[in-house]
């Protein structure tokens, strides 16, 4: 009894049943996964939390930067370079570079993950704004819109498909990077993935959950986009 409890603890909370021959032989056992799905719920929810918060903050920052740079072109170069360097830094390295400053936990993970979304979101938002036809702008001005009204009523709606495309790319990328967030002590699906990395069933299903999350979030954004751009459906 005590031995079993110790074993369970020493195994990072993952205790393989010795009776199941599929598991002891390290086969591929979907039955085991569905019997122990509760071990993945907390990491899964942490993963969702990290992705949603990071992409949300990243979008807010990138949006402001892109709208500003759209009017003040000299900002494009510096912002692209700085976010580009952030994007180049390997996430594992960035987690540990931030650790002495922000400590272990969600804050470090979210700062790093947010950093990775900036380049994609900034570029796409800016490209979307730049792709608005000059005719549409002129028509808006002709109707007496101020610059601010022009931005919110003409440019942003027309830029929406490109902005949403950026959001989709940033989201799926962040789902993948958040699998490394356990290095920063922020949990996520990387934790169960790494805890039993030699156990086939575990790696396939924990990895599969990441892919599933990416696909579902992608689909949600696509659906939101459809609702936000009713005019694209008429064609």
């Amino acid at each position: 009894m005590i031995a079993a409890a110790l074993l369970a603890q020493s195994d990072n909370g993952f205790f393989r049943e010795r009776t199941d021959s599929c598991v002891t032989d390290n086969g591929f056992c979907p039955g085991w996964f569905f019997g122990h799905i509760d071990r993945y719920t907390t990491p899964f929810l942490q993963h969702v939390f990290l992705v949603v918060v990071s992409v949300g903050i990243g979008f807010a920052i990138a949006f402001v930067l892109a709208v500003t740079a759209h009017r003040r072109r000299w900002l494009v170069g510096p912002v692209t370079n700085i976010t580009g360097i952030l994007y180049t830094l390997p996430s594992v390295a960035l987690f540990f570079l931030l650790l002495p400053i922000t400590g272990r936990g969600n804050v470090t993970a979210i700062i790093a993950l947010t950093g990775y979304t900036l380049l994609i979101l900034f570029r796409n938002t800016l490209a979307g704004l730049d792709s608005v036809p000059e005719d549409a702008r002129d028509a808006g001005r002709g109707m007496g819109l101020t610059e601010r009204q022009l931005l919110w009523r003409v440019e942003l709606p027309l830029a929406l498909p490109a902005i949403m495309a950026g959001l989709r790319i940033a989201t799926t990328t962040t789902v993948g990077l958040a699998a490394l967030a356990f290095f920063a002590g922020a949990g996520g699906l990387g934790e169960p993935l790494e805890a039993q990395k030699a156990f086939k069933t575990n790696v396939v299903f924990a990895g599969g959950l990441c892919v599933l999350l990416a696909v579902v979030l992608d689909a949600i954004i696509l659906i939101v986009q459809r609702f936000m751009t009713p005019w694209t459906r008429a064609a």
């Binding site: 360097i85 390295a93 570029r123 790319i169 990387g190 993935l193």
Partner: protein, 255 residues
């Protein structure tokens, strides 16, 4: 004040680890320039093998798909799936099914590197001005000649952009290779029980530098291989090879 000081001393210790050898917690000598250079070399070796394999596989397929202007679905799917599968999951799937070791990790990294190369080669060749291709056909070039002499030179910037994206990604991901039994520059990061906390931070600094250096040097190569007439256009780099819906830059028509 003390917090700032302690942060500085933490980073100072890490820099010290990079240049000064010391006895690791496991007994052996760790840190110092020669040990770290050894790790950097192991890291690069893994990346070079993976990149060579990935380029040999993905480049011909991407070029051919772009040349025939078919397989848009395949190219986009490969890029989407590649983005959705976390690198660490890919690494562990290879580890669990094939075991530890250089070859298996190199294969996992190869798979990771393929999508950006394939997609960029496909997009690059497909986006070549159809008039240029028609002209080449008009002077009697064969399909292969058109690909080699017209489409490839015009697309080379974008093609190399894909390779660069993959390379940076592979250098980053090789950091976690020690989890699958290959000692790379990620080893000090992943095994602080041997290298100590200063080794962990030192390793992170080195990995970050290596990635930035890879990016900067490949960007320079990309600029060098791009035909002069095309250099003013966009860098042709999609972040980690992902297809960004990129409307062509609008030509300003303000009077």
């Amino acid at each position: 004040m003390t917090v700032t000081a302690s942060i500085f001393s933490t980073f100072g210790d890490a820099l010290d680890f990079i240049v000064q050898p010391r006895t690791g917690r496991g007994g052996g000598e760790v840190g110092g320039l020669s040990n770290n250079l050894q790790l950097i070399w192991e890291h690069l070796k893994l990346c070079i093998v993976a990149m060579a394999l990935a380029t040999a596989i993905a480049l011909p397929i991407g070029l051919w798909l772009g040349h025939t202007r078919r397989g848009a679905f395949l190219a986009v799917s490969v890029s989407n799936i590649g983005r959705a599968v976390p690198a660490i999951a890919l690494l562990f799937v290879f580890f669990a099914f094939l075991g530890a070791g250089f070859a298996n990790v190199a294969l996992a990294l190869t798979l990771l590197a393929i999508p950006p190369i394939l997609t960029n080669a496909y997009v690059g060749v497909r986006e070549v001005d159809p008039d240029a291709v028609d002209a080449a056909r008009g002077v009697g070039m064969t399909g292969l000649q058109i690909l080699r002499r017209v489409e490839f030179p015009l697309a080379v910037g974008l093609i190399f952009g894909g390779i660069r994206t993959s390379a940076v990604n592979v250098v980053a991901t090789a950091t976690i290779a020690p989890l699958a039994g290959v000692v790379t520059l990620g080893d000090p990061i992943i095994n602080p029980s041997i290298y100590g906390e200063e080794g962990r931070l030192g390793g992170a600094i080195l990995v970050a530098l290596l990635a930035v250096l890879t990016e900067v040097s490949l960007a320079a190569v990309q600029r060098a291989v791009t035909p002069r007439g095309l250099r003013m256009q966009s860098s042709g780099r999609t972040p980690r090879g992902r297809l960004i819906a990129s409307p062509r830059r609008r030509v300003t028509t303000t009077p």
